[in-house]
């Protein structure tokens, strides 16, 4: 079933599940493409939560929470040994 809009220009939320692999493979994986992707993500977050007249604490809060979760994931390997029970 051919889609009406070409696959290349769809955003991630509009891509159907079956087309996901081909969509992912089609993205730009060159270094400049990756840098561009990071830049775009940063710009989106910045312009939505920080670059406003009355910004709230949640703009920074979400970044800190994401950092906390990320560092917990990194240090999970050592934390595994402090579990109270061995079998769950």
């Amino acid at each position: 079933m051919a889609s009406l809009v070409p696959l290349k220009e769809k955003k991630l939320m509009e891509v159907k599940l079956g087309e996901l692999p081909s969509w992912i493979l089609m993205r730009n994986f060159t270094p400049s493409g990756i840098v561009g992707a990071f830049q775009r993500g940063y710009d989106r977050y910045y312009n939505k939560y920080i670059n406003v007249r009355k910004g709230s604490i949640s703009g920074i809060n979400m970044v800190l929470a994401a950092y906390v979760v990320f560092s917990y994931c990194i240090s999970y390997k050592e934390l595994k040994h402090e579990r109270r029970r061995k079998y769950h």
Binding site: K48, Y49, I50, N51, V52, R53, K54, G55, S56, I57, S58, G59, N61, M62, A65, Y72, L79, K80, E82, R83, R84, R85, H88
Partner: protein
């Protein structure tokens, strides 16, 4: 700069000319046309007032909206509770001494934010307002400056129309000066001529007077010379006798 205006006007008027090699005076690269697109971000769109809404300070509102059609209002909260219980029971999240310090710190942070968040926000907003007001001032000052420059340019352009007054005045002055010099020289010429003529007249007068005097002297001299000594005596004797006669007559008369 005027060449660019001309080129952009030409390109706007006839879009087919955009790629043609348009040659104009002062254009260094003959094939490039500037300022042909629509101006983007002009005027700059204003900053949004509030950021994206976030619930519990951590989770954006879009997540709740995403789950609302399927699970209603309580869906995300139930999901959160279920996930946290799962992590705790399977010990994917391990309870360590650090957990208690985390709870304390997070509780403290939440308390401080709840209590002082609004006032800190106001303070920062005030700082921002001051910054923006300063920049606005600069902008207004620049606009005013440029407006003044434009007005002055217009005034100067209007003045150009009145240049002929200056030249008229100068022309009049020169004509007056010429007239004055002409009359001065005329008067001088007249005076010089009169001077010469007066000289000739006075020379003539003097000659005539000298001749008269000379003639009179000469006649007198000759007359005096011609009177001999004897004639003189006779004349004086006759005069005396005549006077005596007259004296007698005069004496005789009043007595009568």
């Amino acid at each position: 700069m005027l060449s660019r205006v001309v080129l952009s006007a030409a390109a706007a008027a006839a879009p087919c000319l955009k790629n043609a090699a348009v040659l104009g005076p002062g254009v260094v690269q003959a094939t490039r046309v500037f300022h042909t697109g629509q101006p983007r971000l002009a005027p700059v769109p204003p900053l949004p007032e509030y950021g994206g809404k976030v619930r519990l300070g951590l989770i954006p509102e879009e997540f709740f909206q995403f789950l609302y059609p399927k699970t209603g209002v309580t869906g995300p909260y139930v999901l959160g509770t279920g996930l946290s219980l799962y992590f705790l029971s399977k010990e994917i999240y391990v309870i360590t001494p650090e957990t208690f310090s985390t709870i304390t710190v997070v509780g403290l942070i939440v308390y401080v934010i709840k209590k002082y968040g609004a006032s800190i926000g106001e303070f920062l907003d005030k700082l921002n307002e001051e910054k923006i007001a300063q920049l606005e001032e600069v902008k207004q000052a620049t606009i005013k400056q440029i407006q003044d420059a434009i007005d002055m340019e217009k005034a100067q352009q209007a003045l150009v129309q009145k240049r002929h007054y200056l030249f008229d005045v100068q022309r009049n002055n020169i004509a007056l000066a010429l007239e004055v010099t002409y009359r001065e020289r005329l008067h001088r010429a007249y005076k010089e001529v009169k001077n010469r003529l007066d000289y000739h007249i006075s020379v003539q007068n003097m000659m005539r007077r000298k001749e008269q005097e000379h003639m009179i002297d000469w006649v007198e001299k000759h007359v005096v010379q011609s009177i001999s000594a004897q004639q003189e005596k006779e004349t004086i004797a006759k005069c005396i006798s005549d006077l005596k006669l007259l004296a007698k007559k005069a004496q005789a008369q009043p007595v009568m």
